[in-house]
Point group: C2
Chain length 210, copies 2
């Protein structure tokens, strides 16, 4: 895959390398020298493409945001398509979306973006905003789904705000543990099972058996 990277325009090559190094060590621990040495250019050349080291980080934040938007757009259209939900298929749908979510962020390129934003979220307001936006978007999408299910009388007429919050918070915390296990090279089997078990119990609670 090195060929792919080395065929990129220099600007992309720099950004890609920076993302890779930032994700491994954190923004501050990586120097411009290290980035350019890895790319194979001189420090001064980097400044023909980026104003500063900070600009690299900002562009990475933008990439993260566009990836998040891409995922949520996919989720929205999946919900839209499934307006013809068959009663028994909700569980399959949720499990598939969970798998899609995990696969989406397991992609090495996106995983790096996720790490960088996560690392920076506590000291960088921009990063914090992106994470909070993720929380909100997840709730919003879930609320939308639950409303569709309520409208089709597949689940009881429950408060979709509260349910969406509950489901998305739980899933998000599990996802954080999933990521932490992955990065420390531990098995994610158990936490994946917990996620599936949660979906199962969540549905049992809300489905309209009548």
């Amino acid at each position: 895959m090195k060929e792919t990277i080395s065929n990129l325009p220099m600007r992309e090559k720099i950004l890609d390398t920076a993302a890779s190094l930032f994700a491994q060590k954190g923004f501050y621990a990586v120097s411009v020298r290290e980035i350019t040495r890895t790319v194979g250019i001189k420090e001064s050349s980097l400044y023909n493409h980026f104003r500063s080291k900070d600009q690299l980080l900002e562009e990475i934040f933008d990439l993260f945001q566009s990836q998040e938007e891409e995922f949520f757009k996919g989720l929205s259209s999946a919900i839209e398509i499934k307006k013809t939900f068959k009663r028994g298929k909700i569980k399959t749908f949720l499990n598939n979306e969970l798998k899609r979510f995990l696969r989406f962020w397991d992609s090495p390129q996106r995983e790096r973006l996720w790490f960088i934003v996560s690392m920076e979220q506590h000291r960088n307001p921009h990063a914090a905003g992106l994470i909070l936006q993720g929380f909100q978007q997840t709730r919003k999408s879930l609320k939308n789904l639950i409303q569709v299910l309520v409208d089709h009388k597949i689940i009881k007429p429950l408060n979709s705000d509260l349910l969406a919050a509950e489901y998305s918070y739980t899933m998000r915390a599990m996802f954080l543990e999933y990521r932490l296990l992955k990065v420390t090279n531990q098995s994610t089997h158990s936490i994946k099972k917990s996620m599936e078990a949660y979906i199962q119990r969540f549905l049992e609670r809300i489905q309209d058996k009548g």
Copy 2:
């Protein structure tokens, strides 16, 4: 309160200053020069108290761990004492423990420790271990509580592992949002209400009405 700090032994003063600066900017963004300048000593003097900058971080991790242990010890004894649960008091108990938890980590000293460990969790295995330990401890304490409630027939004989996981994951994600809102100077009112609402619905689901 500056008097309090300046009366500390030098070793504590350095550690306190380091924690404060690390929490604001991150470990890498803070230099030994900056720490000693803030304390009012020369760089060389710091090395009479600490082997290296890394040792400062390690000691901060130890402080975090001892604070976590302190909290969980308090929670355990609260559960122990409440073995005589009155049916109607569980909600009060959980709400109180929630408030205690938030107040505990809202203390400026502990908040700093929490920030530092959170920031370092993605690149530092020691920090990642501490966070994962927190996940586990929370589940364990909750499982213990639920088991007590089941034994006293206050709640239905449900799987305490699954319930503990669900409750603690949800609360933890909400806590993360709480912290992120705080650090970005936004209102935490809404998320606190969500926490209380979650406790309410959780209890409704599991209480033995019979």
